[in-house]
Symmetry: C2
Subunit: 294 residues, 2 copies
Amino acid sequence: MIKKIKKVALFGGTHGNEMTGIYLIKKFLKNPHLIERSTFDIFPFLANPKAIDLRVRYVDTDLNRCFDQRDIDNLDHGLYEQLLAKTIYQKLIKNQIQFLIDLHSTTSQMGLSIILSDTNSFHLCLVSYLSSIYPELKVLYYRSERENLLLRSSTELGLTIEVGPVAQGILDATLFSQTEQLIYSLLDYLDNYNQEEIADLPRKLTYYEVFKTIDYPRNHQEITGMIHPTLQFKDYQPLNPGDPLFITFDGETITYEGDTTVYPVFINESAYYEKSIAMCLTEKREVTVNMNQE
Amino acid sequence: MIKKIKKVALFGGTHGNEMTGIYLIKKFLKNPHLIERSTFDIFPFLANPKAIDLRVRYVDTDLNRCFDQRDIDNLDHGLYEQLLAKTIYQKLIKNQIQFLIDLHSTTSQMGLSIILSDTNSFHLCLVSYLSSIYPELKVLYYRSERENLLLRSSTELGLTIEVGPVAQGILDATLFSQTEQLIYSLLDYLDNYNQEEIADLPRKLTYYEVFKTIDYPRNHQEITGMIHPTLQFKDYQPLNPGDPLFITFDGETITYEGDTTVYPVFINESAYYEKSIAMCLTEKREVTVNMNQE
């Protein structure tokens, strides 16, 4: 069992062109009572102010890939976001943050998603509770390729809220409001948990576990095709062997050659072209979760 | 009557993060027969290679606001796009370009749109013909605030193809294919026109004329609200006095206070936040066009 949660951090603007999180944090900085709860302290932060000013994802490198402990400890790194990550990490230590929420948006049709790097029972009970309130909420389990690479995994407990589709640099009022409500419910849960007011029922949970990424078709570096129109905006929907994945610029269809049904996410995410990711493939998991389970 | 069209230029990547035009131009550079027609020469260009490499709209300033003749003639301007505009302008002169097509995309729900800076009868006949083939095609008449500011207005005849919604930095296969077909039909029209094979019928045309832009609600520079959810993705649809325009971050609705029904376009275009444009208001025009009319 995890002890009480006394210190929570809420981040937006880890990517400077993902406006939903940025304007939610600005709202909370102006109206702190909205996120204050009786049993914990909460610290809202704008993670990358320089990228936010420039309306770009990052200045030198992706901040959300700078939190590996070896990178944090490496004093020879000099890129802007590498330096910034060290000060954010120090802030987390100094404020003894136990739980971290990182707000993101995507050009993919991922609706309202929570992404976990760790399926401990605290995380699973929390998301199964939130799923019971928001039936449209999707839960994604995405371990980074290196341990604790991401901001959400730099504290004992943490998660990403990922919403879309929304273009970079714009606000969508519906997604803004849905994200805001989800944050309030999440904070209420932590507050109730601290007061031991969470019924310790077994709950059913569906989540999607990323096991592989797929790149665009390419000729050397240059992409030679696009997400197939039948797959565009079909995040979390089943993709079967033989289903279309891509259409080349010459009109040829490329199909999925796997053996089993999978569930793609991050389909056509703008920022992932440079990471050689056209989509992430997941497997669907149905589990029963229970707070005392470890 | 306009004389024959002997030289045509086709531009993509005037904004380096609008991928539809960029990848269409790359396709045409690789497969020139797709855009060649018997009665004219066609020159495909990638307008801003440096911005394309960086996957950004522009490096120093918006290239598509650098074509005013006074700016072209001003040899003291030193921003990257100001210099680039001069070389593009020289290319247009050197190749004696009479007709220019500039390919753009938008985060607004503008479907398949053609934008004109000039409603001469050649332009109107062309777009009325294209509208008869593509009933979903919308025609926008948008004079720039200064004469001939835009790339499309730097030659005798020219237009922008604007498609959306699509996030910056991504390709949407459906919009890619629709834009490609529209280009072929447009080139076929020019070819038929040169061969005097266009029936000189009066044709009905609906177009939308921009008369005003509206900014987001702001407190000094900082925006204080978003496009209202009932208006998001409602480009070209009627907006009546009293209809919601914005919702503030505090949840207050701001309504349209004009006297007449208008038709907003470029609603929530990502690149227009910095231009203080939340949308452009248009009036709807119904006209009958005829090739001999001047």
